[in-house]
């Protein structure tokens, strides 16, 4: 309950901060919609020459891009702003002030900054879903949407855990401005259904860096082709990722020596 109130406060602070820069609002929204272009163009080009990639058609692959866009909104709106803040804290040694506060440090750094206008991505994602279903000539059943929502939650948890792991790296490597770039670069591969990759890469993207869990599974859920076992696996994977991230975070923060240390 206390944490819920805290979260609300942090969100409000970010909201007010964002409202100060209203011109940025529009520009940001515009840039965000723009970022969809590199996600879709390669897809369109590939599907122009090959109507089917493995078991994926263009309309089905659009579902993956939709989830990719959605998660990118989560990444840019909730995750990356906090990442920049916490890396800055670590570099300058001001993380002390966060650690001194009477609340869980991981919670505090995770909710430090939000960029509300990234909601645009959610609408863009919905747009892409609609486009995909128009291409497919059918719609999702309510059950599919329900399963997809569950899969999406697992995806967000996995993404968040990956982020905590990246932040933990900042404790070990000092000058690391481009950490978010690395994160984005890894995440970029998630715009493709994981099964179009060769076997080795597919295994890598399923078990080591769980990109499959993030976009492919929710997309298949929305299409109604996700086996229950896979859904259970995705949930389990999310929980495992979260636990590992928590342990690594604890270990990293123990290493933190502030600026003077």
């Amino acid at each position: 309950m206390r944490y819920a109130r805290l979260l609300l406060m942090q969100v409000r602070a970010s909201m007010l901060l964002a409202l100060q820069y209203r011109a940025d609002f529009l520009l940001d929204g515009f840039v965000e919609i723009f970022w969809m272009v590199p996600a879709i163009v390669p897809l369109a080009v590939v599907f122009r020459v090959r109507p089917h990639l493995g078991e994926w058609s263009f309309g089905e692959a659009l579902m993956v891009v939709g989830w990719f866009t959605f998660l990118q909104g989560v990444l840019e709106g909730v995750i990356n702003p906090s990442l920049v803040t916490v890396v800055d804290h670590i570099r300058k040694g001001t993380l002390d002030f966060v650690l001194l506060k009477p609340a869980d440090a991981q919670f505090l750094v995770s909710t430090a900054r939000f960029q509300p206008w990234q909601c645009v991505n959610v609408f863009t994602a919905v747009g892409i879903f609609v486009w995909g279903f128009v291409v497919l000539g059918r719609g999702p059943t309510p059950a599919d949407i329900g399963v997809a929502t569950v899969a999406m939650l697992a995806a967000v948890v996995a993404l968040y855990s990956l982020w905590i792991l990246t932040v933990s790296a900042a404790f070990y490597v000092v000058r690391i401005d481009n950490l978010s770039q690395l994160f984005n670069a890894i995440f970029d591969a998630a715009r493709w259904p994981v099964s179009v990759f060769p076997r080795v890469v597919r295994l890598l993207f399923t078990f080591v860096i769980p990109l499959a869990l993030m976009t492919t599974y929710p997309a298949r859920a929305l299409l109604g082709t996700l086996p229950w076992a896979t859904l259970a696996g995705a949930l389990g994977g999310g929980i495992i990722a979260f636990t590992v991230a928590r342990i690594v975070w604890k270990a990293s923060i123990a290493r933190y020596t502030s600026a003077g240390g």
């Binding site: 723009f34 590199p38 590939v46 090959r50 401005d177 690395l182 670069a185 060769p198 890469v201």
Partner: protein, 267 residues
């Protein structure tokens, strides 16, 4: 800031830049890992091409193309914008202005000095490429390799001038970071970084040929993989250097007018 003082200072700048790159090797490594996108595209397109070639690209061609893309990005990458943006906003640019070397030369030197470290990574990749696809997918023509060298230089200069020009915009607007992001979007799609330019439909290609993006990555890669005859290659090189000239012009105009607006705090 005479030319002579720049020339005398340049070797030192390069040495400092090199030491900087060695000192912050972890950062460099992160950057390199962040540029492995061509390798993902390589994996993707080789599966796509498993049932037969796309356009003129079979599997070996795709492998050669994307390995070359990786190498060219390593050679031509630049992050001068981020440094300029930071220094303009924090006011530390004032420090650079006091030195007897033009700041843009200093940025260029830093960029150039990181090359040996990056070669350390890209050379093994090139070796792997040669072993993997043999020599069939790269050009044999020594002239073409010469043109490749020229095109890499051009590509680097375009990328550097874009960084400078957008960096100079930090003098005028607060959100130059967004502009850089927008540029990067176009760059990723249209440069041949994610997808070879000749897979685009014809109408799009005609436009892309006149835009600067494909000369940042696509042209050197195509020359290396022997995609063009000499005459066509020379034509494309001409356009590339036209963009280098435009970049140089834009940068110098923006730098001059922007610097007048610059006010450092706490100086």
């Amino acid at each position: 800031m005479s030319l002579r003082s720049t020339v005398t200072a340049f070797p030192t700048l390069l040495r400092v830049g090199f030491m900087d790159a060695v000192a912050y090797r972890a950062e460099l490594l992160v950057w390199m890992l962040a540029t492995t996108m061509p390798l993902v595209m390589l994996a993707l397109f080789t599966t796509v091409a498993a049932d037969g070639p796309i356009g003129r690209y079979g599997q070996p061609q795709f492998i050669a193309y994307f390995l070359a893309t990786f190498i060219v990005r390593q050679l031509t990458g630049s992050w001068a914008f981020y440094e300029m943006n930071f220094e303009v906003r924090s006011g530390t640019l004032a420090m650079r202005l006091l030195r007897p070397v033009h700041p843009l030369w200093a940025y260029a030197a830093e960029n150039l000095a990181a090359l040996p470290m990056r070669l350390l990574v890209s050379l093994p990749v090139a070796a792997v490429a040669l072993v993997w696809v043999g020599r069939q997918a790269t050009t044999h023509d020594p002239v073409m390799w010469g043109l490749f060298a020229v095109s890499v230089l051009g590509a680097w200069l375009i990328t550097l001038f874009v960084n400078f020009a957008v960096g100079c915009l930090s003098f005028f607007v607060e959100s130059s970071m967004k502009l850089m992001d927008t540029w990067l979007v176009f760059f990723f799609v249209l440069s041949g970084y994610l997808i070879p330019v000749d897979l685009f439909p014809h109408g799009v290609r005609a436009v892309v040929d006149w835009l600067p993006f494909r000369y940042q990555i696509g042209l050197p890669v195509e020359l290396m993989t022997g995609a063009h005859g000499t005459a066509h290659a020379l034509g494309l090189l001409g356009r590339q250097w036209m963009w280098v000239a435009i970049g140089l012009g834009t940068t110098s105009v923006l730098w001059r007018s922007g610097l007048r607006r610059f006010a450092a705090y706490g100086g």
